[in-house]
């Protein structure tokens, strides 16, 4: 019997350190994460025949740096959720026989910018013509725009939005690797510097350096590795719009919803089966949109659900248990770290371990609600 996707995550690891790493280049972070993940799987780099990562540096550079000659390459780069899509594509490639053991790497000098590609500016792309002229400057100025409409339509309060950061800090406080670990209050959040009203600094993700990597292989090899196999029970991917202004409805994410439906259907699970949840939290509103898109709460209820403590330690739906992009780390493409925490929880080796985390769901965001990936991870085949 095999899991529905046919694959397991046999190895998973982050870079030795995360945070502020001015002495490590982007490529070094990829290599370090790759070496750590391959070792975690009890393998060597010679065992890897598939490589997936985002440009730059991209799969050719990373494979070459590691001395790997892959029979399968995936350079899918659709923002911070790309690594979830890499897992999904690796499952297809492994089922098709294009590769046997796929390495997925992430490394990003997001804070220190060592060996990093420059931020693109100008040009005549569609966003350059229709958004940049209005003074956008990265996600803080655009990803944040929908929430005011949500607040008007569903009554989400500024205090409930701020509480998302408070709730996630309760997990970060239990995680020695989290960048911010001191408990905070709603007043602390609302007193922090305004970045893009209604968002304050503490409602925005960190900007850090770091990396992570995964080793994906066929489920019939479960049991061949030092760590418990993490079965990939279901996967989904979806896209919506390349510009925030073109989302169909500012109160929801179509991509989140569609990717979630696909992953839950493949896994044959419902929300009641989920013991642990990761939702990519570049900003405080994203977990709210994610909870509703995946069906964990009714539309409009997720802010109150979080404010009522349901997602905190001891709550019924542990969410973003590493502290999330708001408190743990956020290199720019956070999806790899969300997967890593899902794997740790299913294995039972997380710093803030959840009891009976036999099914973990990871929702990744790409761009600004532009793309989504969802993974359903499990301890056992179902």
């Amino acid at each position: 019997m095999t899991s529905r996707s046919g694959v397991i995550i046999a190895g998973a690891a982050e870079t030795d350190a995360i945070g502020r790493l001015p002495d490590k280049s982007t490529l070094q972070l990829h290599v370090e994460a790759a070496v750590n993940a391959v070792a975690d799987a009890g393998l060597t780099l010679r065992d890897i025949d598939g490589l997936a990562t985002v440009s730059a540096p991209g799969p050719v550079q990373v494979a070459h740096a590691l001395g790997i000659t892959p029979t399968y390459l995936d350079g899918t780069g659709v923002g911070g959720t790309s690594f979830l899509l890499h897992v999904r594509h690796a499952a297809a490639a492994i089922r098709a026989g294009y590769a046997r053991t796929v390495l997925i790497t992430h490394g990003e000098s997001g804070r220190s910018r060592v060996g990093a590609a420059p931020f693109p500016r100008g040009g005549s792309s569609i966003p350059a013509q229709f958004e940049a002229p209005y003074g956008t400057m990265g996600p803080t100025t655009a990803f944040t725009i929908p929430v005011l409409r949500y607040m008007k339509e569903y009554g989400l309060t500024h205090e409930q939005l701020a509480y998302v950061a408070v709730a996630q800090r309760t997990w970060a406080a239990r995680n020695p690797r989290a960048m911010f670990r001191d408990l905070i209050t709603v007043d602390d959040v609302l007193a922090s510097r305004l970045v893009a009203w209604p968002f304050h600094l503490l409602e925005c993700c960190l900007v850090t350096d770091g990396g992570g990597a995964l080793v994906v292989t066929s489920a019939d090899r479960a049991g061949d590795f030092p760590k418990p196999a993490v079965h990939v029970l279901g996967t989904g991917e979806a896209s919506e719009a390349p510009m925030i202004s073109q989302l169909a409805d500012f109160t929801e994410s179509r991509a989140f919803r569609l990717a979630g439906q696909a992953a839950f259907a493949e896994a044959g699970i419902s929300t009641a089966d989920v013991r642990h949840l990761m939702i990519y939290d570049a900003f405080a509103h994203v977990p709210i949109y994610g909870l509703e898109a995946l069906g964990f709460t009714a539309k409009g209820d997720a802010g109150a659900f979080i404010a009522d403590g349901n997602t905190e330690p001891g709550g019924r739906l542990p969410l973003n248990t590493n502290g999330g992009g708001l408190s743990y780390t956020h290199t720019g493409m956070y999806g790899m770290f969300a997967i890593q925490e899902g794997v740790r929880q299913v294995r039972g080796e997380a710093p803030a371990q959840v009891a009976d985390a036999d099914i973990s769901v990871v929702l990744g965001n790409g761009g600004m609600f532009a793309t989504a990936g969802v993974l359903v991870l499990g301890r056992e085949n179902r």
């Binding site: 005549s124 400057m137 725009i145 005011l148 305004l194 925030i244 500012f250």
Partner: protein, 139 residues
Amino acid sequence: MSGKPVPEPTPETQPFWDGCARGELMLQRCRACGRPYFYPRPVCPACGSTDVEWFAASGRATLYSYVINHRPAPGFEADAPYAIAVVELAEGPRLMTNIVGVPNTPEDLVLDMALEVTFEPRGGMSVPMFTPAGKALAS
């Protein structure tokens, strides 16, 4: 030159920017299903038809959502904090814009308030902006 980004038209967007230069907000509409859409592109997003045409929109809109940005992009230093808004045109499509002719504060920028288009000269181009209805200075 304000130092703000100046849009560089591409072949499929040229009619939009030519319209702005005339003081008209041009949209596309599908001849097969009748749906108007933005941003400029050669296929109807509603039905997939390539039988599409340009028309001048009314310029009327309502305020759909926004943020007030406190960390200005290059060229916007003198404006900060400034609103980056998305407006919903009377014809249905939405677009990003700035709101001019009114203080950019939460108290003054009320969702669903009525707006109308105006055009800001910038680097030889005209960039569509929106202002509270009745305040437009453009012809």
